[in-house]
């Protein structure tokens, strides 16, 4: 039954292994144990500290990133499971030194106070518009409920989202 043993024989299954990730369009290799979350891999191994660790238990949304274009929680994702998948973080949102329109709208609308939840809010907000669930404030609130803002900047966050939605001529 050798066919389903993935680790090399001399290597213990729980030891660190090389994982090839595609992060923000770049191929990255890192050595991590299976228990390392995608969030820790990004922050501690790849120096991408934009994604934030709030609760580390899938409650607050501060660690929201995209895997294969879908918003997910990096704290509940194991880094090893992302091999062969595309990971996008807040650092991958801007292009050519220009803020993404959602980032600019957050600045324009003062959509944060302490700023800790902001990267997760923005990653969620951009995904939200792509998903098409931003018809009105009620729908925005519902589909953004996985991102907690302890400073309660919610009205400004919704205003930023509305702006980007309307500028894009979306729903």
């Amino acid at each position: 039954m050798d066919s389903h043993v993935v680790a090399a024989p001399e290597e213990s299954l729980d030891s660190a292994r090389t994982v090839a990730l595609n992060v923000n369009g770049h191929a990255r290799e890192l050595r991590v144990e299976p228990r390392v979350s995608l969030l820790d891999a990004l922050r501690e191994h790849l120096g991408l500290a934009g994604s934030k660790k709030g609760c580390d238990q899938g409650t607050c949304g501060a660690c929201t990133v995209w895997v294969n274009g879908r918003r997910v929680l990096a704290c509940l994702t194991l880094a090893v499971t992302c091999e062969g998948r595309e990971v996008t973080t807040i650092e991958g949102l801007s292009a050519d030194g220009q803020l993404h329109s959602m980032q600019a709208a957050f600045v324009a609308h003062d959509a944060f106070q302490c700023g800790y939840c902001t990267p997760g809010q923005i990653m969620s907000a951009v995904a939200l518009l792509a998903e098409g669930h931003a018809a009105d404030d009620r729908e925005i609130a519902e589909w953004m409920s996985g991102n907690i803002c302890r400073c309660a900047a919610y009205p400004h966050i919704r205003a930023a989202i509305r702006d980007v939605r309307d500028a894009a001529g979306g729903e």
């Binding site: 039954m1 066919s3 580390d56 918003r71 929680l73 499971t81 969620s124 995904a127 609130a141």
Partner: protein, 330 residues
């Protein structure tokens, strides 16, 4: 987090064999409960077998009018699948009222059925918990049990099953398809969830290494107009205090067919069979609904902190059935 082994496989037989060969091995799908509980030391797997590459993510409309949902289909995809929205709106509604958009993108349907309870004593390794540590006692019995169950409880465990979509699936007589070392089997969903009794650590009849492959829902014409109502402490991203999945057919003013299941009140997703029996043949009016709800809750075993659920559940049932008779549902 404790160290564990990891393997990623692309076929079901390898996955099943690997978990079986490792005494503390487990499947890893969306990981939304599992990774959290491993980090909290509640689960201590030696090996996680990543099944996300298995081809089990399809949502298939069956010619009969039923539906076959692959075990690895994600909650978000199932919620918006045309066949689900058209044939079983209560499933779509239940999914969309559960968790958050991020979690729904991650969590699989098979994993949803296997998710563990949210009882804070289960998740706190310093508390006694018969489910986590059989024989250690139940801290919830005399502890903070406002969110706990009032139906199907035992003196060993009163934790509620947290799933929303499972409530709809129980109302619809879904069938859980599995594959293990002894081949495939089909388990009626009401038998898939076990009452805690004296063995709360045993939550479902799966053997070690038995894999859920699909959830099948039989054609149910009355479900084309059905509702999932959820009542909770906040409007979004919260578990149910009480929820109701309901479908109803009225003919000549009387209840001809009805499906009713409750969430947030039972130790398992609760099919309200007493209420269903009470309703059949009765006038489709609030008085019949209230009577049926009363009968269903007559067996409730509330605790001081959750006794409000007895009344809340009855009102929720009446609200759901009234919504359907008024034609406000879709």
């Amino acid at each position: 987090m404790r160290p564990f082994g990891y393997a990623r496989v692309t076929d079901a037989d390898s996955a099943i064999a690997m978990v079986q060969e490792s005494r503390d091995g487990a499947f890893l799908a969306g990981g939304t409960t599992e990774v959290d509980l491993v980090r909290q030391n509640v689960l201590r797997p030696a090996l996680l077998v990543d099944i996300n590459d298995l081809p089990l993510n399809r949502v298939e409309e069956l010619p009969s009018g039923g539906l076959r949902i692959g075990a690895l289909a994600r909650m978000s995809d199932v919620a918006q699948a045309a066949g689900v929205v058209e044939r079983f709106p209560m499933i779509s509604q239940a999914l969309l009222q559960g968790a958050s958009a991020q979690l729904r993108n991650m969590a699989s349907m098979g994993g949803n059925l296997c998710q563990r309870v949210r009882c804070s004593y289960f998740r706190d390794v310093t508390s006694p918990c018969n489910k986590r540590d059989p024989g250690s006692g139940c801290a919830a019995l005399s502890g903070f049990n406002r969110g706990h169950a009032i139906l199907g409880t035992s003196d060993k465990c009163i934790a509620t099953h947290p799933s929303d979509v499972a409530v709809a699936l129980v109302a619809l007589d879904a069938v859980v398809h599995t594959r293990g070392s002894r081949g495939e089997r089909a388990i009626p969903i009401d038998d898939f969830f076990l009452l805690p009794g004296d063995t709360p650590e045993q939550e479902h009849p799966l053997e070690h290494g038995e894999l859920i492959t699909a959830i099948e829902i039989p054609a149910t014409p009355i479900a084309h107009q059905s509702v999932y109502l959820k009542f909770r402490d906040r409007e979004s991203y919260e578990f149910a205090l009480v929820s109701v999945a309901a479908a109803l057919r009225v003919a000549d003013g009387v209840v001809a067919e009805v499906r009713l299941a409750l969430g947030g009140v039972g130790t398992k997703p609760w099919r309200a069979r007493r209420a269903e029996r009470s309703l059949l043949g009765q006038p489709a009016q609030e008085a019949s609904f209230a009577k049926a709800a009363r009968q269903e809750l007559s067996m409730a075993t509330p605790r001081p902190l959750n006794s409000f659920k007895v009344e809340l559940a009855q009102r929720a049932i009446v609200r759901a059935l009234t919504t359907l008779t008024n034609g406000d549902a879709r």
